[in-house]
């Protein structure tokens, strides 16, 4: 029983990382109707920045917020300069442009920091936390707490602030919003910035676990795809629930189903994506779309 509880908590920890990445994808999907394939590599690059700051002797409680701020500003600039020219182009064009960004960030990280695997400092204590007879890793609990706090902050931002309202309006009804004085272009850029900030946070959380290297986010991105698809790709709540469910599910499968184990987790994620898209394309919480032909 204790072991099961520990597996579930550690699944919730990886799940909340998937949830953050999935939320980053959903934020951009809702505003532009595209998947930002570069989301994972942007997060990886930000994580390297934090590592660099820490190497220079900067304390983590300054380095991490600074990294997230840079990720935000960088993504706003990226949207304005690179994505804007293709905003109205066919989805495939935007997808390929995002792939270009993916390859570029991956290459830049390899160029600047090399391909050696590095350890990454964890902001959480290493002593386990005992509840009853079960011992939970403080890192796992820390990851869950940080992710839930940030996801809560984002939902408050969208629900309770005027800027959040303007962003939702710009995503759903760009033309009417423009008429009402919302600067739709800047709302998109802001969406990119927020997505990159959430992504950077998940990179910072996951790096102590998977270790820092230029390809570290590729698998995470696929799990985030699966989480977003599971929850419904236009639903922020769905992204979070999907991420947590996927984290717990994969962790339990890894621990108790030896046939799949840990080798086939990515394959399982691929299978989940296919099955959900085939049989319930709207996911658990997404809206069904109808199209007039």
């Amino acid at each position: 029983m204790n072991e099961l509880a520990q597996q579930i908590v550690s699944g919730l920890a990886t799940g909340s990382i998937y949830a953050s990445m999935a939320l980053a994808l959903v934020l951009i999907y809702r505003s532009m109707g595209v998947i930002n394939f570069a989301q994972g590599e942007m997060a990886m690059f930000s994580t390297y920045l934090a590592w660099q700051f820490a190497q220079q002797g900067m304390p983590l409680w300054i380095a991490f917020p600074l990294t997230i701020a840079i990720a935000f500003a960088g993504a706003v600039a990226l949207e304005r300069v690179v994505v804007r020219p293709v905003e109205r182009a066919a989805p495939l064009t935007v997808v390929i442009l995002c792939l270009g960004l993916l390859i570029t960030f991956n290459g830049l990280a390899g160029w600047i920091w090399g391909y050696t695997v590095r350890t990454f400092p964890s902001p959480f204590p290493t002593t386990p936390l005992h509840i009853g007879s079960a011992a939970f890793s403080s890192q796992d609990l820390g990851i869950i707490a940080v992710s839930l706090l940030s996801l809560g902050a984002i939902s408050l931002f969208f629900g309770k602030t005027k800027l959040g309202l303007a962003m939702r309006a710009a995503a759903l009804y760009p033309e009417s919003s423009r008429v009402l004085g919302v600067r739709v272009g800047w709302m998109l850029a802001l969406g990119w910035g927020m997505a990159a900030a959430v992504g950077a946070l998940s990179g910072l959380m996951v790096a102590p676990v998977v270790l820092l290297e230029p390809n570290m986010m590729q698998g995470i991105l696929v799990y985030a795809f699966a989480a977003a698809v599971l929850g419904g790709i236009d639903s922020p709540v769905g992204a979070v629930v999907g991420g947590l469910a996927l984290g717990v599910g994969l962790n339990l499968i890894g621990a108790y189903v030896p046939v799949i184990g840990t080798d086939l987790q990515l394959t399982t994620a691929f299978g989940i994506i296919i099955v959900i898209l085939l049989f319930r394309p709207a996911g658990l919480f997404g809206r069904r779309t109808m199209r007039r032909v």
Partner: protein, 323 residues
């Protein structure tokens, strides 16, 4: 214009024939890879350029072709001339399977699913150790020239000729098929599926077929590369390979046969050229080129050259790219 086309193909064929006489053996080896990548990218020209279905997972079919040849040769002793077509059939059938799934996924969703396939490929290959040899991979026997040519040409040169004969045949076949009814149907579905249906084109059948057809080409390309390198291992078939194929297709020109050929040249030589600067330089150059091409030259190099040669087409291309 027609005459022009035949001449350029004839000159190219002659060039392919005599080139090994004038370049060192390792260059013939590199040109073999150009041919193989061109075949793989030709598959993307059919699928993405002509039919409008994106695949970010063609590296997986590349891998299936490579592993098919390795397993057939090592475990069953099947000779080259039989194993390459079999590799094409195996990856073609799996491509048809993915094509059936792809029928229900559009645009971004298809990109997402095939990307997941590409990322999941190496760990899946590693898992089935008894068949794939796990992380070690499998050795692939090399191809030696037949009896009468023994000693006349090296085995690198022989593989070069075999590759380019296959490439030539596939390009010819594709050119004929895309120039006729099949090509028209595929393009009609890409441009307006509803209109295509009302003209009696069955999109399900054509789209599935395009996926299988294109996967078979990727399988052939993977088989040739496996024979040329002499081994297959899971880490060859990463998402980077899938992305390199897409990059080659986009930079070369995703909706022309010439684009596939140019793409093959780019995928083989661009990394060789820039990795002297830094091992990560190929990625940076690929990535930035993709971004710049999407913004400024969505038709790729081949379309841009055609626009220079035939200025009248330019306007039509711009119109096409914008719509």
């Amino acid at each position: 214009m027609r005459v022009n086309k035949y001449w350029s193909v004839a000159v190219l064929a002659l060039l392919v024939l005599v080139l090994p006489r004038f370049v060192p053996s390792y260059a013939a080896f590199e040109l073999t890879f150009v041919g193989a990548y061109a075949i793989g990218i030709l598959g993307l020209v059919i699928l993405t350029g002509t039919n409008g279905q994106i695949s970010l997972g063609h590296g997986a079919f590349f891998g299936i072709g490579g592993y098919a040849v390795a397993i057939l040769a090592q475990k069953l002793g099947v000779p080259f001339w039989a194993s390459v077509p079999l590799a094409a059939i195996v990856s073609g059938i799996l491509g048809l399977g993915l094509g059936l799934v792809a029928l229900r996924l559009e645009g971004v969703y298809l990109a997402l699913a095939t990307f997941a396939l590409a990322v999941a490929t190496p760990s899946t290959l590693k898992h089935f150790k008894s068949l794939t040899g796990g992380s070690q991979g499998l050795a692939v026997p090399s191809l030696s020239p037949p009896g009468p040519l023994h000693g006349v040409i090296t085995s690198e040169q022989w593989l070069y000729y075999v590759t380019w004969v296959i490439a030539g045949a596939l390009f010819l076949l594709t050119s004929i098929a895309l120039g006729g009814r099949l090509g028209r149907a595929l393009r009609a579905i890409r441009d307006n599926e509803v209109a295509a249906i009302s003209f009696g084109v069955n999109p399900q059948r054509y789209k599935t077929f395009a996926f299988g057809w294109s996967a078979a080409y990727a399988g052939i390309a993977g088989a040739i590369v496996a024979i040329a390198t002499g081994f297959v291992s899971p880490d060859t078939y990463t998402v980077a390979l899938s992305l390199a194929l897409v990059t080659g297709a986009v930079l070369g020109g995703i909706d022309t046969l010439w684009g596939a050929l140019l793409g093959g040249v780019i995928v083989e030589f661009l990394p060789l050229l820039v990795q002297k600067i830094n091992p990560a330089a190929p990625s940076v150059v690929y990535g930035i080129a993709l971004v710049l091409f999407m913004i400024f030259l969505p038709g790729g190099i081949a379309r841009s050259i055609q626009a220079v040669i035939h200025p009248l087409r330019l306007r039509r291309e711009i119109h096409h790219a914008r719509s």
